[in-house]
């Protein structure tokens, strides 16, 4: 059975969802399934029947976060960025810095040193308490 990731990238031409490892370890393939951040490389396509799947291309309401990534240098090569953004928007609204770190722990970035990513989250105040 095809993976959700392949259906998105190959069949739907939604290449904003990336593949970094294919084994659920890097987070590059993160999408939202009914609002939850999930590694799409681990999801057999049939499992999302009846669910709503959101990729970076269809993400709405996260403009502030996306603008912060742009302004604050949250993306270096940028190949982890869609996954980071989707993982970040799925964080609970009252998440503190430790929750953010934990929430992003499954998303590897080989370039930025994560600093730019945290700065982007803080700048966007998403979640609001990231500033502390």
């Amino acid at each position: 059975m095809k993976r959700l990731l392949d259906v998105l990238r190959e069949d739907c031409a939604l290449t904003g969802t990336k593949e970094g490892c294919g084994e659920g370890e890097c987070g590059a393939c993160t999408v939202l399934i009914d609002g939850q951040a999930v590694n799409s490389c681990l999801v057999p396509f049939a499992q999302v029947a009846g669910s709503s799947v959101t990729t970076i291309e269809g993400l709405t309401g996260a403009e502030a976060l996306q603008s912060a990534f742009i302004r604050e240098g949250g993306a270096q090569c940028g190949i982890c960025t869609p996954g980071m953004i989707l993982a970040a928007v799925a964080l609970p609204k009252d998440a503190d810095l430790q929750d953010i770190r934990r929430g992003l722990a499954g998303n590897i970035c080989r370039c930025t040193g994560y600093e730019g990513i945290y700065r982007s989250l803080r700048a966007a105040a998403i979640p609001a308490r990231a500033a502390d």
Binding site: E57, G113, I117
Partner: protein
């Protein structure tokens, strides 16, 4: 040509120097200059595309009728191919091309080496088909550990001639033919002064053996290409750091003229040194595409990435150093055996030879071949491992003569830039109070430590690159230059330099890069992209602007020299009334606008020369009960020449520091000695530093005006990662009062070091001996 008197240097260390400027090249910027955009924090031009998923990486390229390819690889570390049967694979459904990469009789020298490949209409069918390829292997004895490979009678990795893979960016001397005995090749040797005499003059001598592990590049976008033929012309979308070096390799291996090979890299997901050539996968994709008569996509998976396409070689470094009581180094000696698998170029002598001043220095570097994947250039080849051994040695020597390690370094560092960086960094990390902070109130299990390390780098960019700048009638401008952006921000750097020189806002400038059909751009290796490209862009923009000025001069009927260009537009010398705005001046250009193509001028030999310098300090916390190390803070002070974009330069340092921490504490390619296979070919057991482990990183740039090129620019990618592991390791030693001589520093090695210290201390009449033989 003409000589210009320039004020060069840094921070209160300026001097006047006469520098010869080539015709067609602008005079380097003056320290009194105010910039409109250069040096500011400028968001990447392509940041929106990246944050919205619109950016199309080579791995995202989809073409009509495109096929998917897979490579069959050997499972065993040393075999001979006896027979290869592709018939069954050819008959599988959806298979459009099958290719033998190895042929009967070929020796395969590492687990993961390429054997054959297929292209199919779906990735799943390609995967099925490679398992239908029938190969008979003859097993040969193998060796994967470098100490075993050095022993007499060890299985030979190369029975005959050494066939090593080389790539642009390899350590200097890597390609030179060297003597070989068994699996050991070398030495590459250097000898300055007389080390025996130097050690004789020393009041204290330390020696130790340091070892470092294999680190894989682990860029998030794997190696690969999409290849398409149209008639006899080949177009390849590659994930590469060098579109022109990929073109070169494809042209040579396929026998296609350079003029008929195009390589495109629009967006790229990281390289770190491993992506200069087309590689076996690139050449294979092109061949499969030819056979199938359809475009082929071939990207590696994570496991293949770990096994076959490059790594930072391991090292075993024996270092001996001597100093006088008053803190002058008298001799430095290094013998290193490096493990680059089936590749050489594993030397680590750069830091030891070049950072600290010493009259007597001797180095010998040996490559030890093993049956494992070949090394490749990796972010400052040889330097993080060399810095780790050197900086530990400096700390031990300082302890031996009873001198503060910072003071000891300041006494021996010939670089005034780095001495300044050391002072800035020491202040920021709180060096002075570091001993008092070792114990943590309220938590008897925790120790804190602070350590330091130095970075050195050499490259300043060079000739070859060309760029075309066109100024249009509406006042907008276009820059075309065949450089690729690995994620460093090269695209934005090109735009910023053009905007600065033309006096235009960045939004008025279109930047076109990443295609070999454009004027030649440099490969992104050796931290040379910015110092190669930025001066080229500035020269082209300057020449194009001069053409606009010339058209203004002819309209006014005055000589060209009489027209003065500024950000506001053009005016006439001595006639305040005569002026034209940029827009008005451009409006008078012919329909085609004006264009200039400039070549990168030679580096100025009479410039304010230095090696690129950096200094880093790490503050760590060690739990002496669990052995866990946490990096609390890193202070990084670097010379980046004149920074083009503070946002992306800082990001380079953050990334370099994090990769250095990852190298110091986590990353480790582990090969099973019984089977010769990698046991952690993923990103879970091959542990890469994650969001949870990131410390505070404090970055400072020390602007240096060197006039080596017209923008004073220097690369930062490599120096940023050189000293991190060294600083972390020294901080751990400071925290626990015992030396760990091998990377990565794991909880186990911390506990073993503490245990060893306790045992030594318990022996009557013995003191803890730091700096003894390991």
């Amino acid at each position: 040509m003409g000589k210009d008197k320039l004020r060069l240097g840094f921070n209160g260390h300026f001097e006047e120097k006469e520098v010869e400027i080539a015709a067609g090249d602008p005079t380097p910027w003056d320290p009194s200059q105010t910039f409109s955009i250069l040096g500011a924090r400028t968001p990447r031009l392509d940041a929106r595309a990246k944050a919205t998923g619109a950016a199309r990486y080579s791995i995202d390229v989809r073409l009509p009728g495109m096929l998917y390819a897979r490579i069959l690889r050997s499972h065993d570390p040393a075999t001979v191919v006896r027979s290869l049967d592709l018939t069954a694979a050819r008959k599988m459904p959806g298979i459009r091309a099958v290719l033998a990469i190895a042929k009967p009789g070929d020796a395969l020298r590492f687990a993961g080496q390429e054997v054959a490949a297929v292209a199919a209409d779906t990735p799943e069918r390609a995967l099925d088909a490679i398992s239908a390829i029938r190969v008979e292997y003859g097993a040969r004895p193998f060796v994967v550990e470098i100490d075993k490979a050095r022993a007499d009678g060890a299985p030979l990795v190369f029975e005959g001639k050494v066939e090593t893979k080389t790539s642009a960016g390899d350590a200097p001397g890597a390609k030179k033919a060297l003597p070989r005995k068994g699996n050991v090749q070398g030495p590459r040797a250097s000898d300055k002064g007389n080390v025996a005499e130097g050690f004789g003059k020393a009041d204290a001598v330390v020696e130790g053996t340091y070892s470092t592990q294999v680190q894989t590049h682990s860029a998030l976008e794997t190696h690969g290409v999409v290849a398409r033929w149209e008639g006899d012309e080949l177009t390849v979308w590659a994930s590469t750091q060098g579109i022109f070096s990929v073109r070169e390799e494809l042209s040579q291996t396929l026998g296609v003229p350079l003029s008929k090979v195009n390589v495109i890299t629009e967006y790229m997901g990281g390289g770190f040194g491993a992506k200069f050539g087309a590689g076996v996968e690139g050449v294979t994709a092109a061949k499969l595409a030819k056979e199938a008569g359809a475009p082929v996509k071939l990207f590696l998976d994570r496991k293949e990435e770990h096994l076959a396409v490059g790594n930072r070689p391991s090292s075993v470094q024996w270092v001996k150093a001597g100093a006088t009581k008053d803190g002058k180094l008298t001799a430095l000696q290094l013998i290193v055996h490096g493990g680059g698998g089936t590749n050489g170029g594993t030397g680590t002598s750069g830091p030891l030879k070049n950072v600290y001043a010493c009259d007597n220095v001797k180095t010998e570097e040996f490559d030890v071949f093993t049956n494992s994947g070949p090394s490749a250039a990796f972010r400052a080849p040889g330097h993080p491992q060399g810095a780790f051994a050197l900086e530990a040695t400096m700390d031990e020597l300082a302890a031996r003569i009873g001198m503060d390690p910072l003071e000891f370094r300041l006494k021996n560092d010939p670089s005034e830039v780095r001495r300044e960086e050391f002072r800035i960094g020491a202040e920021k990390i709180g060096w002075a109070g570091r001993d008092a902070r070792r114990r943590v109130p309220d938590n008897p299990a925790l120790r804190r430590g602070v350590g330091m390390g130095a970075a050195i780098w050499y490259n300043t960019g060079g000739t070859g690159p060309k760029a075309t700048v066109t100024i249009h009638r509406d006042g907008s401008a276009e820059v075309v230059h065949g450089v690729q952006d690995l994620g460093t921000g090269a695209r934005t750097m090109v735009g910023i330099v053009a905007a600065e020189e033309l006096g235009l806002p960045l939004e008025k400038i279109a930047v076109r890069i990443g295609d070999t059909r454009m004027p030649y751009g440099p490969g992104s290796g050796g931290s040379t992209t910015t110092p190669s490209t930025a001066p080229t862009i500035r020269a082209a923009a300057w020449q194009a602007k001069k053409k606009v000025a010339a058209s203004v001069a002819s309209a006014w009927g005055v000589p060209e020299e009489a027209v003065v260009a500024s950000a506001a537009g053009f005016s006439m010398n001595g006639d305040a009334g005569k002026r034209l705005s940029w827009k008005e001046a451009c409006g008078r250009l012919p329909e085609e606008g004006v264009s200039a193509t400039a070549s990168r001028a030679e580096n100025h030999p009479d410039a304010w020369k230095r090696f690129t310098a950096g200094a880093q300090f790490a503050d760590v916390e060690v739990d002496v009960e669990t052995g866990l190390v946490r990096v609390r803070k890193v202070v990084a002070v670097h010379d980046c020449g004149l920074v083009v974009n503070a946002l992306t330069a800082e990001s380079q340092v953050h990334g370099g520091v994090i990769q250095g921490i990852s190298y110091a504490l986590y990353e480790n390619r582990i090969l099973d000695r019984a089977t010769g296979r990698m046991v952690n070919p993923n990103v879970e057991q091959y542990k890469i530093v994650g969001a949870m482990d990131v410390p505070e990183i404090d970055v400072t740039f020390l602007p240096v005006w060197d006039a080596v090129n017209n923008t004073h620019s220097v690369g930062i990618g490599e120096p940023a990662t050189v000293p991190t592991a060294a600083a972390v390791a020294n901080a751990v030693s400071h925290a626990i009062g015992a030396r760990i001589r091998s990377l990565p520093i794991t909880p186990e090695s911390v506990l073993a070091a503490l245990d060893g210290k306790a045992r030594v201390a318990a022996m009557p009449g013995r003191e803890t001996r730091e700096g003894g033989r390991a």
